[in-house]
Symmetry: D2
Subunit: 217 residues, 4 copies
Amino acid sequence: MSDPQTLLLTGFAPFGGETENPSWLAVRPLDGALIDGYRVVAVELPVVFGEALRALEAALDRHAPALVLCVGQAGGRAQVSLERVAINVDDARIPDNAGNLPVDTAVIEGGPAAYFSNLPIKAMREAARAAGVPCEISQTAGTFVCNHVFYGLMHALRERPGVRGGFVHIPYSPQQAAAHAGAPSLPVELATRALRAMLETALRTGEDVRIAAGATH
Amino acid sequence: MSDPQTLLLTGFAPFGGETENPSWLAVRPLDGALIDGYRVVAVELPVVFGEALRALEAALDRHAPALVLCVGQAGGRAQVSLERVAINVDDARIPDNAGNLPVDTAVIEGGPAAYFSNLPIKAMREAARAAGVPCEISQTAGTFVCNHVFYGLMHALRERPGVRGGFVHIPYSPQQAAAHAGAPSLPVELATRALRAMLETALRTGEDVRIAAGATH
Amino acid sequence: MSDPQTLLLTGFAPFGGETENPSWLAVRPLDGALIDGYRVVAVELPVVFGEALRALEAALDRHAPALVLCVGQAGGRAQVSLERVAINVDDARIPDNAGNLPVDTAVIEGGPAAYFSNLPIKAMREAARAAGVPCEISQTAGTFVCNHVFYGLMHALRERPGVRGGFVHIPYSPQQAAAHAGAPSLPVELATRALRAMLETALRTGEDVRIAAGATH
Amino acid sequence: MSDPQTLLLTGFAPFGGETENPSWLAVRPLDGALIDGYRVVAVELPVVFGEALRALEAALDRHAPALVLCVGQAGGRAQVSLERVAINVDDARIPDNAGNLPVDTAVIEGGPAAYFSNLPIKAMREAARAAGVPCEISQTAGTFVCNHVFYGLMHALRERPGVRGGFVHIPYSPQQAAAHAGAPSLPVELATRALRAMLETALRTGEDVRIAAGATH
């Protein structure tokens, strides 16, 4: 009897002066969980340009997952957001955890301008909402380590036919927001619930549903 | 042996097309709870100008509470907010649940322009934050039924020396926000936790702490 | 032949690290203007608790205006806003220009909790919009020097029967916003145009029009 | 003596229920202007998927511009924003002016996932700010007709070596914002001033300056 295939879930270490990162807190409880016959492997990535991608690639090699979902913190956003597209640029407003401050450099020299997620993000959004968690499609993952990892993931998946991947941003935890006047928040338990619902839906969905979720600008 | 004194907590019925009101969902679980030797009585108020105040006054007469905290929904706000001041005006952008649309009428004809809460709102804010719930001071409770009830409460307390009162707004629940693209949310369990922490602190605090929590505009 | 009656318009000095205050830039061009037979007198007030009020009272004594409109900067607001109510509290998040940081002290010891503007703010909002300037009613003037001056003005007008007064907040100028990532702005020329339209309308309007312009929270 | 080379500036027709589009109002006054020896040609594009691109391509063929800047309205944004990247997707929340509602279709079937602007957007941002106009870099042009035109422009420029192109979003005009409660605005005169400063800077700048202007998410 063979081992079940794996789903790779990643979260990030704390950064930007925070002592926790809700993305890792939301992902960790799913480590080892069985979802539709797949085993979840949760991995924490460093918030460091380059290093984060090497850690991701090591996890891809080690676990040979059927599907990868990377998760990051989006302090200031009010909802879980499913990213549509990763762009080939690093442009850091704040230093990463190793002090790097790249400006307008490529994530992958010579890579294409962007990659779209190949997960069914519209169906996944519906699943998160049906699970009672506010969720939206986002047209930009920024230009910091989250976008960097998302781009590097999709680039790496070109060599791994049939493997699907994407990126999800989650809000501050209430504990973090209690220290950030005015910032919206979402408990990590709800983020975890949304991630589980999204994974189940992604595994069962081939072509995405056609629901408008664009932005006029 | 005498009955314990009561704390009156009120929430509101759903309005504005919603099927639930998180203020009532957050308040209801505390009904009957003992907090520092006081018994909590939770009462749901209608979202109707005039009627809401009559229901509040009936509850004041019936329960003779030592402290009153009214709670309402503030769809779009990201944090629990402690209201500083109630103003003597009704100005409705949307109809209340009976179809009333008052414009620039007094809550209490001949009443003063405003009442300040006489609860230690700064200390209560700190207590909510310490309990892990994002919380802020608000300088306006609006001009709809929430402000109406807050004003009517403080007016009624003039006849009840020693009784303290105030108003708290809470965000949409995640379930509501899942249907309102972009709106921030807070689980009602966290709102309940904040309310309990606030009540404990209010009971133990005489003069409020001096912490700046104003707005430049 | 007697001198025309005066309209007192006030703006503020720069504060909070800014080198200009759009409120004074918007008010100054109207100094000496004739509006409906009234002569405008423009006065710049210091951004200092107490001192600002003494300067305002001196101007009231000197010019005996028929109507007073105080104007302040609301960095971050997107529209001209007509304030409805001034509250009797100073609560400073940032120091004023003399380094004062009052927390929860009264503007006027023993004064009422609040004063409403006695200007026809709804009609004035319509006039500003008709002049092509975005304008809204605001339910809070904050707790800094703007609210302080607005409260002190309305308190002083109790001794001056028939004199009407109010407060208007205006956004950053584009030059300021060019230095504040993401902040909305309005050219001072448009603020000046709105102020002129508001003054004309205030002079011609007795009882305010009944237009809903409230807030649900 | 030869004719001067041209700069192509485009704006859009009104859409979404508006009676004007500030992008065209801002662009039109520059029609025929000489900037650094180049003649500006301003063209209005329809807000219709497909048709807009055909009109743009006709203008490219007719005027053979050295540089192209397309301009669109971003109702709700507070600043002029220089777009960094166009993505190969149409996803319409609202119908275009011909009633089309594409969902997740490609702008150009078989085209790359995205194109970056090849204009010096950081230097252009600095120029707009120096001209006193609030300006920022944007990481997403949305998924409506603006992104559609921006993507189609960059795709067309692949066949026109040496021609540079990009996209700028501008806020509502004050007249529009006066009808949209709470929306920020910018006078079209200031947008025009920013566009002129941007064009001058683009013409004089080879490689862009290295200034961080990214987003953490």
